[in-house]
């Protein structure tokens, strides 16, 4: 089997317009969550989110592109451009026919849906722009990345709610690991911060009105974010032959289903998936120095996840660090695992563990080292990235420092 490394990373999210700015914000424990700004926000009871502010699409895309790209596709392309530029790859000839793009996404072009429903239902218009369908389809982002970079290999979109990006990256890993292709572009994106998107989430009563405080006893719910994270997964020898800079090794992954409840998390499901990822990566539990938690800041997730970590790691659970960067960038739903993988890269490559900010009161049910409020320098060789979605579909990735 082939070893798989990451040779490019790109992002745009509430913390920054690129990887360097995002990692700096994570190191400084900055909060990207603030007042939401969009049409009809005053009709919402939840008015905060990790929104990408001051973003001018016209600076990145021409008029024809903007007519076709929903916000989630724009974010994806911005992240993909950064990742592929860093990897220094050009896709032509045989490489172009083998390399593909697998992305995670949950809501598709939610802004496009929202605007057009508004126009036909509220404004009573009987005509919508002809590109509504190509803009809102979940695979639009993957297709546009494929077109912009000439990626003609296996390409598709994975939709498993909050695990979408991790499932997508697991697929990309498998394709490179198994030798089907030397390179895959992968990650995910989301942009649901519009009236209809947030209104739907309000209904579940799991959203916080003031802050995302994972693991803190006074936590009161999740906060949504938006953006994208995109990576270049490359076969090790292929990367070494061309002298590419290697950010980290993707060591393995596991996927599972709780098969129990449409919204409540399962300790057994989370535990099985973390164990599976370590088994797949041939990693001993004691080697894991950092876990980027799913850590949504809801009562149910955080205590269940901590209990699962305690079960899986036993005494080592008290030695490892576990943090939720959702406290800073919000929950990017289908794009969240991709942005969170950046924190794992920072841990294994730079030896800096991103904090859980907004942490105010210890919770005996979350009695782990959650790296409260301040980033920490640490020698982390292996990191896990957890994603446990609504619907009980779990995906955990294992990252190893490349030496």
């Amino acid at each position: 089997m082939k070893r798989v490394v990451i040779t490019g990373a790109g992002t745009i999210n509430a913390l920054g317009r690129n990887v360097a700015d995002t990692l700096e914000a994570m190191r400084e424990g900055r909060c990207g969550i603030g007042e939401l700004e969009f049409h009809d926000v005053e009709r919402l009871s939840i008015r905060i989110g990790g929104q990408v502010k001051g973003y001018e699409p016209e600076e990145r895309f021409n008029r024809q592109q903007l007519a076709l790209y929903d916000r989630f596709a724009q974010f994806t392309l911005i992240a993909a451009r950064e990742a592929i530029a860093q990897a220094g790859l050009e896709f032509s000839g045989e490489l172009a026919t083998r390399a593909g793009v697998v992305l995670g996404n949950s809501g598709g072009g939610m802004t496009t849906l929202d605007e057009n429903y508004r126009s036909v239902y509220e404004a009573g218009k009987n005509r919508v722009h002809p590109f509504v369908v190509p803009k809102l389809m979940n695979n639009a982002a993957a297709s546009h990345v494929s077109m912009e970079f000439n990626l003609k290999g296996p390409s598709f979109t994975v939709s498993t709610a909050c695990s979408s990006s991790n499932h997508a990256m697991a697929q990309a890993f498998q394709l490179v690991h198994g030798g089907a292709t030397p390179v895959m572009v992968t990650g995910g994106s989301e942009s649901m911060l519009c009236f209809g998107g947030v209104k739907a989430w309000e209904g579940l009563r799991v959203m916080s009105r003031d802050a995302c405080r994972p693991f803190s006893a006074n936590r009161n719910g999740m906060v949504q974010g938006e953006g994208a994270g995109v990576f270049v997964f490359e076969e090790l020898e292929h990367a070494q032959k061309r002298g590419a800079e290697i950010l980290a090794e993707v060591a393995g992954f596991a996927m599972s289903s709780d098969a129990s409840d449409i919204v409540m998390p399962s300790k057994q499901g989370a535990a099985r998936t973390m164990c599976g990822a370590m088994r797949d990566a041939r990693i001993d539990a004691a080697e894991v120095g950092y876990i980027n938690a799913h850590g949504t800041g809801t009562a149910a997730n955080d205590k269940t996840e901590c209990a699962a970590v305690a079960d899986v790691f036993g005494a080592h659970a008290d030695k490892l660090m576990i943090s939720s960067t959702k406290s800073m960038h919000g929950h990017l739903i289908g794009g969240t695992g991709a942005v969170e993988l950046l924190a794992c890269i920072m841990a294994v490559r730079d030896g800096v563990v991103a904090p859980t900010i907004g942490y105010e009161e210890p919770d005996p049910e979350c009695a782990l080292d959650v790296v409260p409020n301040v980033a920490r320098e640490a020698d982390v060789k292996v990191a896990l990235s957890n994603a446990f979605s609504f619907g009980g579909l779990n995906a955990v990735l294992a990252l190893r420092r490349f030496e």
């Binding site: 008029r63 024809q64 007519a67 076709l68 005509r127 722009h129 002809p130 590109f131």
Partner: protein, 85 residues
């Protein structure tokens, strides 16, 4: 602005050309407008004149709307505006 100038302005915008570069004899192909550009132009025309254009992208030649040149499009719009207003 009369109907002809308004249609030419829409087509020119779609083709990213100056309206003076769009002649009555031009075909959409000459102007570099592809199938997506065509449906977008028809949408813009419907919005501009508040009319409904009977055009099916599956069978352009069978539609009761001739898109073979700028002149034929303008002629069709003139007829639709007269019928539907």
């Amino acid at each position: 602005m009369d109907i002809k100038d308004r249609v030419i302005r829409i087509i020119a915008e779609q083709a990213v050309l100056d309206p003076s570069d769009v002649t009555m004899e031009s075909t959409l192909e000459d102007l570099g407008i592809d199938s997506l550009g065509l449906v977008e132009s028809i949408f813009a025309i419907e919005e501009e004149f508040d009319i409904s254009v009977p055009f099916n992208a599956n069978a352009p030649n069978e539609s009761d709307f001739d898109i073979s040149s700028v002149a034929s499009i303008i002629q069709g719009i003139n007829k639709l505006v007269a019928e539907q207003s």
